[in-house]
Amino acid sequence: MNSILPPLLIAVPLGIAFLIPLVARRLDRLADTLGNLATLSLLAVALLMFPLRGVYRIGGWNPPVGISWVLDGLSNLMLVVVNLVSFVATLFSIRYMERYTAKHRYYSLFLLMVAGMNGVILSGDLFNLFVFLEIASVSSYALVAFGGRHEELEASFKYLVLGSVGSTLVLLAVALSYAVTGYLNMGSVSTLIAGRQAEPVLLLAAVFFIVGFGVKAAVVPFHPWLPDAHPSAPAPISAMLSGVLIKALGVYALSRVLFNVIGVDPVIAGVLIAVGALSMVVGVFLAVGQWDFKRLLAYHSISQMGYVVLGLGLGGYILATGGARGAATLAILGGLFHLANHSVFKSLLFLCSGSIEQATGTRQLKEMGGLRERMPLTRATCTIASLSIAGVPPFNGFWSKLLIVLAAFQAGFAWLAAITILVSLVTLISFLKVLRYAFLGALPEPLRDVREAPALMSISLVLLAVLCTGMGLLLVPAVRGVVLDPAVAALSQGLEYARSLMAGM
């Protein structure tokens, strides 16, 4: 493939991240403009690249000698989601980050994180995946600590230690797979380990991959860094972390390696199902009792990630045990659609919390109240996002949760469907609590003169809310065939897809 677009996804954010400290050290407006231009152009490139498929060979070296980038349905979908959320987050941070003084450093680190995530999604080579994973992770450690207050530093240190352990495990797994096969290219590795997955070394590599990417995706039991890191970060960074980082670095990389390189067998799929169900239940029950708005949202992230992992694991289990292919594709479709939906509504929720924090100065639900008259736009978008996450029709969360429940029924796991519905109900309860405490009720004395969020912040909220309402239309069969079905095919055809696409160029 000879298109000029894929390198731009890495080169533009890297270039502008290196350029901003040189030219915009004192000029905040210039840093704002450059940062937003960068993410807007990345969004345009990701949308233009959507129909492309194939293998991009870096430097002209043929695989398996060279590093290759793979463009298939799943990576294109993830690229659009990641770049869309990062554009909205930079739009929001023009006004939100006024309270911090080193804006040029913020944009630099932000763009490095986006470059890292784009690289993880594009990469078709195991060590390249690790390098971009580390770029994105280290930038996010620094961004969580950006404000320099007590809790931000403590949360960042905790995140750094756990995240480093995860990354080192990923590197160890890559080393083990190199030891067995002698190749790093994903297609070559998958061809060479076919049928040998039960060997002790490869089993160890699979376990290390699951644990390492599980730490990045914050599934239970690797979740302890998330409830501290996501609330302490500035609001647009929380939106990025919860909205795309745990997906691109965690769930996407995990599914890519498990479905396309190692191959799913019933044991691995059973582990995914167990971990997903545990995350759903633990996350939502720990979330209901929270009184800090952002901490509540962080626990809900764990729970919703459980949905995605459950959907993918269910699909993998049905495929591995030779069950009905229709049910398997339904489950994977539900999982991937929920991944896209969650990016949109969770980042909208975090941006709303940032808007409320900017206006009222607090994150504690008990100190808020009665904001419905002062902040109508924030209230409307927050209501839309809460209904989406709770799975109320016609917003997007409903459709993806319905797909997962239907797939669980079709595969004969009625108890999983029951757990899913129960978790949705508890999610609805906790978000009704949020809406009641934040917006309804009486306006307390200290909040007498709050005003609505500035225009730029409101634009990003409205953009995401419109997407929340309209994304249900992605399931219309004509649109679904273009957008979601190729992504599902990339995972459900598993090993054959990977080998044909990546190995024999």
Partner: protein, 163 residues
């Protein structure tokens, strides 16, 4: 008196140039011998750190201040990115080695292997300035906010509190 004793200062004054030159040698012949940008950049940074240890911080900061080091940092990275992007112009793909690989002088010369020497120099610049900046910020300077909320770099232990 800042810095170390006379013996250390004299030996440093003689030796620092050789360390710097050795680092530059490792960077430039990275495509022929082991080393390359990373290792060479670390050695060059070590020569500046030796200067800081032996002569004291003001002397070293006058030689290479934080602002210059940050500029070199960004400059080195941008040079590397530009070299990678230029590969698209004449080869079609990212990172294509677009310079000649074999000059009339034969193989294994300094000017061979395409753009790898330029990439090595860019990485050497970046690693050297980055490591020196990290060393300075962790040990000597720190970022404070003054009265109107602007950030500036001041020394951690000002003169009065020295040993």
């Amino acid at each position: 008196m800042t810095g170390m004793t006379v013996i250390v200062k004299t030996v440093t004054r003689w030796v620092k140039v050789f360390i710097f030159l050795y680092g530059v040698y490792i960077v430039i012949t990275g495509h022929l011998t082991p080393g390359g940008g990373f290792a060479g950049g670390v050695i060059i940074a070590c020569s500046y750190i030796l200067l800081t240890l032996a002569y004291g911080k003001e002397f070293a900061l006058k030689r290479l201040g934080p602002r210059t080091a940050a500029g070199l940092d960004s400059g080195g990275s941008l040079l590397f990115l530009i070299v990678a992007l230029l590969g698209i112009g004449s080869g079609g793909l990212f990172f294509t080695n677009f310079l000649q690989k074999r000059y009339p002088g034969g193989e294994f010369q300094l000017a061979s292997a395409g753009f790898i020497p330029i990439a090595n120099i860019a990485i050497g610049l970046k690693v050297f300035s980055c490591l020196f900046l990290v060393f300075i910020i962790l040990s000597i300077l720190r970022i404070v906010l003054d009265a109107e909320g602007k950030q500036s770099l001041v020394q951690r232990w000002p003169e009065g509190k020295e040993e």
